[in-house]
C-alpha cells in the first residue's frame, strides 16, 4: 500500500460501496465524533447563556417524573396496540367490496386527518366519553389518541397494500390461495417492507402526541413536568428531563423498526 494513512482515513470517513457494511471501527469512531460535536455545542451554549442550574429543587419531585413517565409509557403502549388494530381494520375496510364500509372508512380517515388532535381530545372526552359513560379519563384519553393515530396508520397500511403489483396477486390467485391466504402469505409480508419506515415515524409521533392528553388532566409526563416546573420555577431543568423521558421511549421504537427493516429486506 502506497498511501496507508490516507486509505485508512478514507475507509473511516466514507461509506463503503452499496451493499457493504460499515465497519464496527468506523461506526465507533464516527459515533464518537458526532457525540463530541453535540457535547461541545451544548457546553458552549450553556456557557453563553446566563442560566444557573438548579437540580436540587426538582430532585425532590423525582417521583412525579417517574410516575408521569410510566403513565406515558402505558398510554403509548396501549394506544400503539389499539391504533394498529384500528388502522388495519380501516385499511381493510377501504379495500372492501362492500361500498358503505369503504366510504365509512374513507370519511373517518379524512375527518380525523383534517382536524387538530387537540379538538379531537376535547370532543371525545366531553361529548363521546360522556355519552358513553366512560368515566376513567386515562381510558378515554388513550382511546382518543388511538382513534387519532388509527387514521394515519390506516393510510400507511393502505399504501403498502396498494404497492403490491397485479402480477403478484395473479400469481397468488393462480396457485389457488384464498383472499385471506393471499393477504397472509403474499400481501402483508411484502407490504411490510414499505410500511415499516412510515409506521415507525407514526409510532414516534403517537408517543409525542400523548403529551396533549395533559389538557384533560392526565398525569402523564408532560403534565407532571409542567407541574414540577410551576412548583419549583425550574423550567429548563423540568423540560430537559421531559425531553430525555420522551427520547427514552421513542429511541427503542426507532431502533426496533430499523432492525425489523433489515429482517424483511429482500431485493426485487
Amino acid at each position: 500500500m502506497l498511501e496507508p494513512s490516507h486509505n485508512y482515513l478514507r475507509k473511516i470517513l466514507w461509506a463503503p460501496s452499496k451493499g457493504d457494511r460499515v465497519s464496527p471501527i468506523a461506526t465507533l469512531l464516527n459515533g464518537f465524533v458526532v457525540f463530541s460535536i453535540i457535547a461541545v455545542a451544548l457546553l458552549f451554549l450553556l456557557r453563553q447563556s446566563s442560566l444557573t442550574w438548579d437540580w436540587q429543587s426538582i430532585s425532590k419531585y423525582h417521583r412525579l417524573f417517574l410516575d408521569g413517565w410510566k403513565a406515558t409509557l402505558l398510554i403509548s403502549l396501549a394506544s400503539l396496540l389499539v391504533s394498529s388494530m384500528g388502522g388495519l381494520a380501516l385499511a381493510l375496510a377501504q379495500s372492501s367490496a362492500f361500498l358503505p364500509l369503504r366510504f365509512l372508512s374513507k370519511t373517518y380517515v379524512e375527518i380525523i386527518r383534517g382536524t387538530p388532535l387537540l379538538a379531537q381530545i376535547y370532543i371525545f372526552f366531553y361529548i363521546i366519553a360522556e355519552a358513553a359513560r366512560l368515566e376513567n379519563r386515562y381510558v378515554a384519553g388513550t382511546l382518543a389518541l388511538s382513534l387519532f393515530s388509527a387514521a394515519y396508520i390506516a393510510e400507511i397500511i393502505r399504501g403498502g397494500i396498494e404497492s403490491i403489483g397485479q402480477s403478484q396477486l395473479d400469481s397468488a390467485k393462480a396457485i389457488g390461495l384464498t383472499k385471506t391466504q393471499t393477504y397472509r402469505h403474499v400481501i402483508f409480508p411484502q407490504a411490510l417492507r414499505s410500511i415499516l419506515p412510515p409506521l415507525a415515524g407514526q409510532f414516534v409521533s403517537l408517543i409525542k402526541d400523548s403529551s396533549l392528553l395533559s389538557i384533560i388532566g392526565l398525569n402523564e409526563l408532560t403534565q407532571n413536568a409542567k407541574n414540577v416546573a410551576s412548583y419549583t420555577f425550574s423550567n429548563f431543568e423540568s423540560y430537559l428531563l421531559l425531553a430525555v423521558g420522551y427520547l427514552l421511549l421513542t429511541l427503542p421504537i426507532s431502533l426496533w423498526t430499523r432492525w425489523m427493516e433489515k429482517r424483511v429486506r429482500y431485493e426485487t
Binding site: S171, A174, I175, L177, V264
Partner: protein
Amino acid sequence: MKLEIEHLLKILGSHRALDSLSLTVENTRSFVLLGPSGGGKSTLLRVLAGLEKPDSGSVRINNVSLPDSELGLLLYRRKIGVVFQGFNLFPHLTAFRNITLPLEVVHGLPPAEASEIARQLLVRFQLEKHAHQKPAQLSGGQRQRIAIARAIAPRPNLVLLDEPTSALDPEMTAEVLQMIEELRDDGRDIILVTHELGFARQVADTIALVSQGTIAEIGPPKLIFDGPQSPITQSYLAKTLRY
C-alpha cells in the same frame, strides 16, 4: 385433453378481447395458441385458467364445464398449474419456499412431504443449488423454471403457460423450452401461448391461430405451417418468419 369452447365473449373496457370465440380440440396433449399481440391469446388463457370470468359463452374441458361461482373457480384453479410471462415468483420467499408454500397452504400437505416434493423437483431440473436463493438472485431462466416447478408440484393434469419465454434471452429460452417439453413427455396436458414458432411446431399436437378475439385457423402444426388457409395465418407467419 378435450376442449370445447362455444361463443366465448370477454369485454375488457370497450374492447372485445374475445369476440364469440368457438373451437373444439380433441385427443390433444399439447395445444399451442399463436397469433399477433393483442389478438386475445392471453385473455383466452386467463379464462381457461379460471382467472377471468367470460361475459358469455361456455367452456368445457374433458366434458366438464368451467365453474361459474367464485368458490368453484378457486377449487378449479387448485387443480391446474399456471405459469405467466414474468414476475411469477414471490420475491420475499426463497425458491424452495415458493414451491412448498402452495403445497402446504393450498393443498394441505405436511411440511416434510412438501419439502420432499420440492427437493425432488429441484434435483430433477438441476435447480437444487438455487433452492435457498430469493428470486432477485436468480437469472430470468432460472426464475421461470422455478415457476414451472411450482406450478407442477401439486401434480396438476393440466398446465397453462402464458408466453413463458417472452422476457428471456435465447439461451434462457432454450432451457425453459426444454423443461416444457419434458412436461409434455410426462403425460401432462399443456396449453401454451407462445411466439416461439419452431418450438410450437415441434411440441404441438394442435395449433390455433387467435386474432381479433376469434380463431382464424386451427389444426395440426403441419397444416398451419405448410398449408395455411386463412389470410391472417399467412400474414402472421410471413411477418414472424421473415427475420
